[in-house]
């Protein structure tokens, strides 16, 4: 299967990539290509131009900045999985990264690509939402920061403008307890439902595949801060979610999984 034809441009800097994107409204950014190329092969996406940002070397890094860790958008899943700094400061991200797809996917896919794709079924977006991360974007009119809670807008839709590049993701340290429950039937699969729970001063819970966008388990978080037990909080886990049915699970089954997995995740937090 071939994608339909497109122009290919390779950007050597963020500025150059923005200029290329601004020149063609049907242009798309190419990072690892592990979401975009499958869509293009199925002709579900047919951009007229690909702006390859994969060679912009200063977009791949993990560094501590005060009480946050800054992660360059081109940092690959493999690099997140094996980063000693993240293992120490934001261990939930290393754990989540290590369960994305399979090793060959993790050698190519990037955290920026996964985030900019904004898939409600993907792992990083829900983790970043639970952590309250900040996305840093650059466009023709400069640099802006977008809170994770404002970033995921709809099905595969984010707050990024078509000519904006996600350059960095900033995650807070301090969530020292964490749990990741990814329920699937075969090892390399996507989550049928997944739960990311992190606890620092408060407990935040993110859902994978419980709606068209990644979600916070608001009902659970509210109950917990009101002093509810794990069982009481988990019992309302699917409140406010809107899962869909597919070949793997019905809506009811997903709601059931949400309650079970939240209970497991919260129990794991201790």
């Amino acid at each position: 299967m071939y994608p339909s034809s497109f122009d290919y441009r390779r950007a050597s800097s963020v500025q150059e990539a923005i200029a290329m994107l601004s020149s063609d409204e049907d242009a798309k950014v190419l990072a690892g290509g592990h979401s975009l190329i499958p869509l293009m092969k199925l002709r579900l996406a047919s951009p007229s131009m690909l702006v390859d940002i994969g060679r912009i070397s200063n977009l791949s890094y993990v560094r501590k900045e005060g009480s946050q860790v800054a992660i360059g958008a081109l940092t690959r899943h493999r690099d997140v999985e094996t980063s000693e700094l993240l293992a120490h400061e934001v261990p939930i991200l290393s754990k989540v990264a290590g369960q994305i797809g399979d090793p060959s996917v993790r050698h190519v896919g990037t955290i920026g690509g996964s985030t900019a794709h904004g898939d409600g079924a993907a792992d990083f977006p829900a983790a970043l939402l639970a952590l309250g991360a900040t996305m840093v974007a650059e466009g023709p009119s400069g640099r802006r920061e977008i809170a994770a809670s404002e970033f995921f807008k709809g099905f595969l839709e984010t707050a990024l403008a078509p000519d904006e590049i996600l350059t960095e993701i900033r995650v807070p340290t301090g969530f020292t307890k964490y749990a990741f429950q990814k329920f699937n039937r075969r090892a390399q699969d996507w989550a049928i439902v997944g739960v990311v729970a992190v606890r620092g001063e408060r407990t935040n819970v993110g859902f994978i595949n419980m709606g068209p966008t990644p979600l916070r388990a608001t009902a659970v978080e509210e109950r917990l801060s009101a002093g509810a037990s794990v069982e009481e909080a988990a019992a309302v886990a699917d409140e406010g979610t809107s899962p869909s049915a597919d070949i793997n699970a019905s809506v009811e089954y997903r709601r059931h999984l949400a309650r079970v997995l939240v209970k497991r995740a919260l129990s794991e937090l201790g």
């Binding site: 299967m1 071939y2 290919y8 390779r10 290509g33 090793p103 390399q188």
Partner: protein
């Protein structure tokens, strides 16, 4: 567009459409047909090759993304005189293949697993093979072969 790739240690050049996938560059432009296409949807791993030493699924990488980089395919493992790589020998000795369709991909992903781990146990190998499907052997002998190769390669160092 012109792409220049170091394939199995040799500089290769081709003029391709931007939409050309790495697997087609290898098979159709460079006549290296050892790399197979199975699912063509990034699920089975039959098309796995090494890009700068790390396993990737070449049906989901553009030839343009490999431009200026090094690719290793199954054809690049044996010595020029035909002596098999220790990993290939381990596959043979452990009966790690039946029809052989998945084998090039299995071997290449295993090269990555061997390179990324100083020591290996069965669970690590099984997790490393997650993205590669075999419809014949049931994985058991493939896992045995990778562990045997690790031992053989450690011993020869």
């Amino acid at each position: 567009m012109r792409v220049e790739v170091t394939v199995n240690g040799q500089e290769r050049v081709a003029d391709v459409e931007p939409r050309t996938l790495l697997v087609h560059l290898l098979r159709e432009h460079f006549a290296l047909t050892g790399t197979n296409v199975g699912c063509d949807t990034s699920s089975c791993g039959a098309c796995t090759v090494l890009l700068d030493g790390e396993s990737v699924k070449s049906c989901t990488v553009l030839a343009a993304q490999a431009d200026g980089r090094a690719v290793t395919t199954i054809e690049g493992l044996a010595d020029l005189d035909g002596t098999l790589h220790p990993l290939q020998r381990a596959f043979q000795e452990n009966h790690a293949l039946q029809c052989g369709y998945c084998t090039p991909g299995m071997v290449m992903v295993s090269m990555s697993i061997l390179a990324e781990h100083d020591t290996l146990d069965e669970a690590t190998v099984r997790e490393g093979l997650e993205g590669n499907l075999c419809r014949c052997t049931g994985y058991h002998n493939i896992v045995k072969a990778v562990l045997a190769a690790k031992e053989a390669m450690g011993a020869s160092r």
